[in-house]
Symmetry: C3
Subunit: 387 residues, 3 copies
């Protein structure tokens, strides 16, 4: 595994460049070759629109600047040259280069979102010369239960059983919910009663479609509490399915009070609510956060600014790294690079101003890039590097 | 026309200084002379308060720093000297200097807000040695319909007809809504039924006053969709009439889904929700944004920071320039200067860090300052500069 | 009194270092010695959690960097050494060093929150060689009225009388409400009727507990208007009792309209809503703001960034300084230092860019650090330094 390429000098840059990251939340990379339309559609959280290339965006610039060199192209290579070289090398080689270039030792892979054929965790690990774990998306489990046929009054138990079975498979280290996409967080925080769940299941099973009933989403979140594993929650930035004003993580406060002392919760993405997430991480023992997805979309040019907001009051045990890469392995690489570069820039500026001492900077970098995830997900290696 | 004065060196500064901007949303400049109270009241979105001069604010500092030299005064001239010189020169000469100093080739003038006697678009164009187009404020059209007398069940058709007549006049390139000031955006997104509109019109026509009925505001927004022209929407920052928490543009998401594939929508001002606006512009094909009004109020000292947030994930085709200047021609100048200076600073920093290549920086500047507006409003010159 | 230590060169740094601040909102310092657990629990707005030291946070770093030298320790001293030295010196000497080191001439002390034995205002003043005034927390007054026994229909009058008595004591300069912690600001803005108040009082007095009835909270806010003194309102950042999405100060807009022309209102803390607070201060004559509590929690490394957002459009008469220090005197010092350093950094950058002239920078610093508070609270010295 080669280290990230984001070093620009100084001991923190060097330490972060050499650090094998734990990417605690990502997805697979597409295994087949992509044509221009296919590649562009994976570059954006929007759709690919006529006359507006996704290359003409911050993430497009970042790909041309930071990914082109791994394909033996000059920095800032034009999109046509980039795509031609990508095709020439083939998906397997492209994936290999970016996944190894990411300098990531562990990937925790959310296997519940895969509209394209993508690398399974084991294949991702093999390609990256890394270790992979799995994160189970609970909405997918619930929808599989519904698809398999279940009576409304048996739904709760069937879902719980299926979730238990899913998480006790080897390599599963956490669960995830996309409640943000389904209802947002402005929910009654209380655990729904069995009768409420049965009634809601009756309506949902009759209607079909994805799980978006508020009672069943609440039930899913409380089932996650029962499972006992860390829960990843999508918050903030995503595609057009999001209603941004309903995915402010602060809306979870009542639920966090009710579930105090139970499972670790990791708020994913967070932007533009990174400060609200930081507040929650400062006042709730179990709450952690990352700014995955955001970092590669804004690119290294703004990663430091986003991380500076996300860490204003955040305890150093609470910041994790994720790429949230999906589809193109460029993002597994770019997420890691933006994280390394942004965090190093932020820490180096504080070292230069003597606001921070070097051992603290190095410890904070190591914790955020690797050890906090090891600790939250109880991954091997966590204890010995915990100091 | 002279170029803006915001150059501080480097090719991007030079290119932006030389670029004739399209100010896609502004108002007229007051044609008469202003006394101190009159001038100060136009400097602030608040009122002029006893003992608190609006000169003692970021925009006041920016006027003294950047506008004084165009009146032959030293930078940072004191308010008394500034006002005395302004009076000495007279409104016509002051307007001429600032409007030409703005380096703006095209002004799209919202003619629906004019509590003072201000320059009509043609006069603004003549004074600035530029071209002017008109933007029709739909609330004004609806209120004129009501003032002219109409039966409730004829309101919808009368408003539609009046709006059609207003927009088919020569030089009209878009429409605008101040729904933000009337109801905010937390509205039922669906098109109201004819019966709902008639019922709401009955109540409003009986009550009188400005158009602030939620059903009629929804109807107005849907009428804009029917008109087919780009729709400018005030969002975020404004005067004390705003309820800030109800003008987050994210509240428009459901309406944007329902109106997908129809008219271009341009979110104006946006601050402090520039990131929410950026998100919408990244996931909805038709959504564009500017940070007009904000830029001159924060001044060039913060314009780069605001633009950096507004462009974090914004596709380069989606950012437009506007001054939203009203009343004092200083703002037509200052808006342009803050935009040029802020954008140049932001782009130059990325060039210096090799996060961006010069041709991309120049293209992005040209698009944001001119070509995106040409494209959205189908202005002459759009095609040839589109590359 | 010694000046703050945040000078890093330049005339603004020097002027701010020499300026005796008015800390318009703070609390007392704990008078007894603190063990590690006691000290750590006062460092955080969360709780002290097993395995996660509050020293491992931005405020912990800031204490080690900026407070250690006042205890004769090297910068960045480790927590163990810091705590040992603190114990060695004893609480009285530690408090004396930090309170004098703060360079603060006036403290306005909220006496309504004191879960620990803390310095009373007179003792704080004596220790700091400064002047102290008192701010009366209205929820405490109401709860004392309830605890003393009152009939529901006599509650309104009893509360009003008790509040009048509390504020007419010598040295009282303002009142405070923690409505943010009790209901948030999404309240009916209208003054409740006597019958509503009696009904709500009946329910509250029967139930007991802290004052968190929405009608009684509204009544409290309107009683503050009647008292005629400046009202401090907690907004934004606080402990886990906050529901962040309900303490956006923009939610107060309707109430601010209804109470126009009455008492000064000072929005405290504000983060992450400092821009919303700035907007309110720009459009409402009576609205002022600070970023107290936030500044020491983010530390000097981010204080400039927060102040830059908080002042983007804020009239210079509207920004005040507070530490909101509670418990450990480190915070009285650190708040002052972060304010001085952040504001100096921000102003110096604008001087360097010639966006600001030195006399304006010095005036702005003097106003924000001292004169605006003197003016709002009508403190002695206000008039002569007002220029």
């Amino acid at each position: 595994m080669t280290a990230g390429t984001g070093t620009t000098g100084g001991p923190v840059h060097e330490a972060l460049a050499a650090l094998e990251l734990v990417d605690h939340h990502c997805h697979g990379a597409v295994t087949g070759d992509l044509d221009r339309a296919g590649f562009e559609s994976l570059l954006t959280e929007g759709d690919a629109w006529p006359g507006v290339s996704p290359f003409d965006s911050p993430v497009g610039l970042a790909v041309r600047r930071h990914c082109a060199p791994l394909l033996d192209l000059p920095r800032h290579a034009p999109p046509d040259a980039y795509l031609a070289r990508r095709t020439e090398l083939g998906a397997a080689e492209v994936n290999r280069r970016f996944l190894r270039g990411a300098g990531t030792g562990v990937f925790c892979v959310d296997t519940g979102y895969a509209p394209h054929p993508v690398t399974a965790p084991a294949e991702l690990a093999r390609t990256a010369d890394a270790t992979a774990y799995e994160v189970v998306r609970l909405e997918g489990v619930a929808e599989a239960v519904a698809a398999g046929g279940v009576e409304p009054d048996a739904y709760a138990e069937a879902f719980r059983t299926a979730a238990w079975e899913a998480v006790r498979r080897p390599g599963v280290v956490g669960v995830k919910s996309v409640a943000a996409y389904r209802t947002g967080f402005d929910l009654d925080p209380a655990r729904p009663s069995p009768a409420e769940v049965t009634g809601a299941a009756r309506r949902w099973l009759a209607r079909g479609g994805r799980l978006d009933d508020p009672v069943l989403v609440r039930h899913l979140l409380w089932t996650a509490v029962d499972l006992g594993l860390p829960l990843q929650l999508h918050t903030g930035f995503g595609d057009a399915d999001i209603r941004m004003h309903r995915v402010d993580p602060a809306l979870l406060t009542d639920w966090l009070h009710l579930t105090a002392g139970t499972i670790p919760v990791v708020l994913l993405h967070c932007w533009p609510y990174q400060r609200q997430a930081a507040y929650l991480s400062a006042v709730f023992e179990r709450v952690h956060l990352d700014v995955g997805l955001t970092l590669h979309h804004v690119g290294p040019a703004r990663a430091g600014a986003i991380l500076a907001e996300a860490t204003e009051i955040t305890p150093f045990r609470k910041l994790l790294y994720s790429s949230d890469a999906y589809g193109v392995a460029e993002f597994h690489h770019l997420g890691a690079l933006a994280f390394r570069q942004g965090l190093a820039e932020l820490l180096q500026a504080r070292l230069d101003a003597d606001e921070l001492a070097l051992p603290d900077a190095l410890r904070l970098a190591r914790w955020a890039g690797r050890d906090n995830a090891r600790r939250v997900y109880r991954l091997p290696g966590g204890a010995m590097d915990d100091g």
